[in-house]
């Protein structure tokens, strides 16, 4: 069996589901864009590393070319052959010949035994003794810059068979990288090398020892800022729209439906009450008004049908429990009431009257049944007028009537019996053609709570027969 939900709960669940969906979509979009941002950053770093690797290759090629140019310079071989004026030559000629570029920190020569021809001083000073087996690079780190020193052999002959000594070129690697290449994916100022001072350097693997940062991706950062701002705005708009939708759903769907539900409940609990909900709403929903109107019409029709049915039932009951001739309750009604009364415990205090018309058979025989029927009807009318409103009058058959008086004292019973006799005496039976008087014999039995109804009936019947047998005492109260 499927569960039943309230519309308010369903509407809340719907709004929460939409909000959750929007939240998931927003988070998903945010994560996607951040993933793109991260991927672009990784690609930028990879491109930067490739850029540095290529720049290092260019620097290596350039340094080797400069070293080769230096090694092939006659004056270098002149100094190695006779270094007597080496310092003068170094200070005057190297700078003058253009080998000492702005990125070059030092240039020096070593003899065949690896001893520098003259001590080097200043920024990026060359070691006094050849630090490695040329050709090769040596790292020189300081707090302000990373230097590399390239050591290379110098031969006397073009066939490189006669070693004369060695040359050295010291340079700031960052300055060299900047010089040989315009970086797009690397912030040159962030460049550094994770190598220790005096370490031998392999240019092939130098790129892997480089630490750097990519330049800010201004366009992407601007896009991310704009996206986040747009996402926040969209979220606020979505929340506003959702709140508005919630209000509208509640205002125009949930409340009317609940009102209809209440109306139905009201109608169910008070079928005769017409539901008037929804009339005061500023905005009314046509379909819901149609539903409400249909329910109202349906309720009206049901009420009418119910009234008609009750009327029919009442008529049927009247037909079944009324005597057609006298209008009093019939024998069946008396039996029903007597059974109901007999079933009560305790019975309560009541008085049972039994009426019988004297010589009624003679009236029928002498004046005809029509007159007899008229007498019966008149008797019933007289008795009905004499009885109280709550008292019930029965025609048990022929000219025999009974009356059941609830909670009646003997005085009250005597008063009622006297009124009955007065009504009969006062009524003009001559109008039915009768010339003889109509006399009623009345037996009265007063029942205590302990007395059964049948016993009370028997006592009233016995009292009525006794009155019937008497010619002057036409009212007999049962006395044992």
């Amino acid at each position: 069996m499927s569960r039943t939900y309230k519309v308010i709960h369903l509407s809340i669940a719907f709004v929460l589901a939409v909000a959750l969906l929007l939240l998931i979509l927003g988070i998903q979009m945010y994560l996607e864009v951040h993933a793109i941002h991260d991927r672009m950053e990784r690609e930028q770093l990879a491109n930067g590393r490739r850029e540095i690797a290529q720049a290092i290759v260019d620097v290596d090629r350039d340094i080797r070319a400069r070293a080769e140019r230096l090694a092939r310079w006659d004056e270098v071989r002149q100094q190695l052959a006779n270094p007597e004026y080496y310092v003068l030559w170094r200070d005057a000629r190297i700078r003058a010949d253009g080998l000492m570029t702005p990125t070059t920190d030092s240039i020096g020569l070593y003899d065949r035994n690896g001893h520098i021809l003259a001590p080097d001083t200043g920024k990026g000073a060359l070691p006094a003794q050849l630090p490695l087996s040329p050709p090769g690079y040596l790292a020189r780190k300081s707090t302000s810059h990373d230097d590399l020193q390239y050591f290379f052999p110098i031969y006397a002959d073009p066939d490189r068979r006669i070693l004369m000594g060695y040359g050295a070129l010291g340079f700031d690697i960052l300055d060299e990288l900047k010089r040989v290449r315009q970086f797009d994916f690397v912030d040159p100022d962030s460049f550094s090398l994770t190598i220790s001072d005096h370490a031998t350097v392999s240019m092939a693997s130098l790129a892997s020892q480089a630490r750097f940062q990519s330049p800010p991706m201004r366009n992407l950062d601007r896009f991310m800022a704009a996206f986040q701002s747009a996402l926040i705005r969209l979220t606020l708009i979505a929340l506003f729209v959702l709140s508005l939708a919630t209000f509208l759903i509640h205002r125009f769907m949930v409340r009317p439906l609940r009102q209809i539900s209440n109306d139905i409940n009201v109608m169910r609990e008070a079928p005769g009450l017409a539901a008037e909900g929804g009339k005061s709403a500023l905005v009314r929903i046509e379909e819901l008004d149609n539903v409400r109107s249909s329910l109202r019409d349906y309720q009206t029709r049901v009420s009418e049908l119910q009234l008609a049915l009750e009327d029919s039932n009442r008529q049927l009951f009247e037909q079944a429990h009324r005597d057609a001739l006298s209008g009093a309750f019939n024998r069946r009604a008396f039996d029903n009431d007597s059974r109901n009364l007999a079933g009560r415990s305790p019975l309560g205090r009541y008085t049972l009257l039994m009426f019988d018309c004297d010589h009624f058979k003679d009236i029928n025989d002498q004046y005809g049944h029509a007159a007899g029927d008229a007498v019966i009807g008149a008797l019933a009318d007289c008795l009905q007028r004499a009885l109280r409103a709550e008292d019930r009058l029965y025609r048990l058959g022929g000219d025999e009537f009974a009356a059941l008086l609830q909670d009646t004292t003997r005085e009250q019973a005597e008063d009622i019996v006297r009124r009955c006799q007065e009504q009969i005496e006062r009524h003009d039976f001559g109008q039915y053609g009768l010339t003889m008087p109509v006399v009623l014999s009345i037996g009265v039995a007063q029942a205590d709570p302990d007395l059964s109804f049948n016993e009370a009936l028997r006592r009233a019947d016995a009292a009525m027969y006794r009155a019937k047998q008497s010619s002057d005492r036409k009212v007999v109260f049962y006395a044992p």
């Binding site: 004056e75 071989r77 002149q78 004026y85 006397a156």
Partner: protein, 279 residues
């Protein structure tokens, strides 16, 4: 003859015909280079010496060597070391010059010894510019009967813009420095160099060869000498050719030619050379 042998011989001949670079250790223990082109066996061998601070690859020396070799002459064109092993570049004026004319003479001698060991025939010395002075200086110090002639093309002293008075003063200063054992290089205008940096001894050796000394030395040398001069050589003093004529030596002037005797005058030079090397 087997085909492969013919090819090998052809390659060997071609090698000889197109010349080869030879190297030789000099008295200063440095290796010097020379271009050696073998010509006809019955032709003299010509030693061509380049100009001041140049190499045998300098175009004037190179053109003369090729031209003479084309005429069938054996040609040896050495490059003076100037203190540089395997020197193959012109030495800059601003370099620290430790070499001297005496060193150059010694290297010329080594090359001539090397040449004489390979050639039985006569030797002709051919110099260009200061190379002519150095060959003259060598001849003045060495009597070699196999040297049959000296040809001095565009011979010129190490000129000074201040004239001979400055030369005297510089010589005196340099002598004083040498006497004081002050070997600190000095810088002066010298020859075509605005700033020539050299040891006092080295500069003095070249500076001593004044125009007058060239004239006197040429006059004193018995070996036939021919001077080939460019008629439009802007480096020469206006009366230099006239002074040369006073030596009594043969003067060949190529009208219109400059100091390097190149360009359209290269053919005139080769014509003159062809005549002069013919013994």
């Amino acid at each position: 003859m087997p085909r492969w042998l013919a090819i090998l011989l052809a390659l060997a001949v071609a090698q000889l015909a197109f010349g080869k670079e030879v190297t030789l250790e000099m008295p200063n223990r440095l290796i010097a280079r020379a271009d050696y082109q073998i010509g006809a066996a019955d032709k003299p061998v010509v030693l061509i010496l380049h100009g001041f601070l140049q190499t045998h690859d300098f175009h004037t020396a190179h053109n003369m060597a090729d031209g003479l070799h084309d005429l069938g002459y054996n040609v040896l064109a050495p490059t003076l070391t100037l203190g540089v092993p395997y020197r193959n570049q012109s030495l800059a004026c601003e370099a620290i010059h430790g070499h001297s004319l005496e060193d150059d003479e010694a290297e010329i001698g080594v090359w001539l010894d090397w040449l004489e060991a390979r050639h039985q025939g006569p030797i002709i010395l051919l110099g260009h510019s200061t190379g002519s002075v150095e060959l003259l200086a060598y001849l003045s110090q060495h009597r070699d009967p196999r040297i049959k002639k000296l040809i001095g093309a565009s011979i010129i002293e190490g000129a000074l813009t201040g004239g001979e008075q400055v030369r005297s003063e510089m010589i005196a200063d340099l002598k004083q420095r040498i006497g004081a054992k002050n070997n600190t290089p000095v810088s002066h205008q010298f020859s075509y160099c605005n700033r020539y940096t050299s040891t006092p001894k080295g500069l003095l050796s070249y500076l001593r060869w004044s125009p007058k000394r060239i004239i006197v030395t040429a006059q004193a040398i018995a070996t036939p000498i021919t001077f080939i001069m460019g008629g439009a050589d802007q480096r020469l003093a206006t009366d230099w050719i006239a002074q040369l004529r006073k030596t009594g030596k043969k003067i060949r002037v190529i009208e219109g030619a400059g100091h390097f005797l190149d360009g359209q005058y290269e053919f005139d030079l080769l014509d003159v050379l062809g005549e002069e090397v013919r013994l």
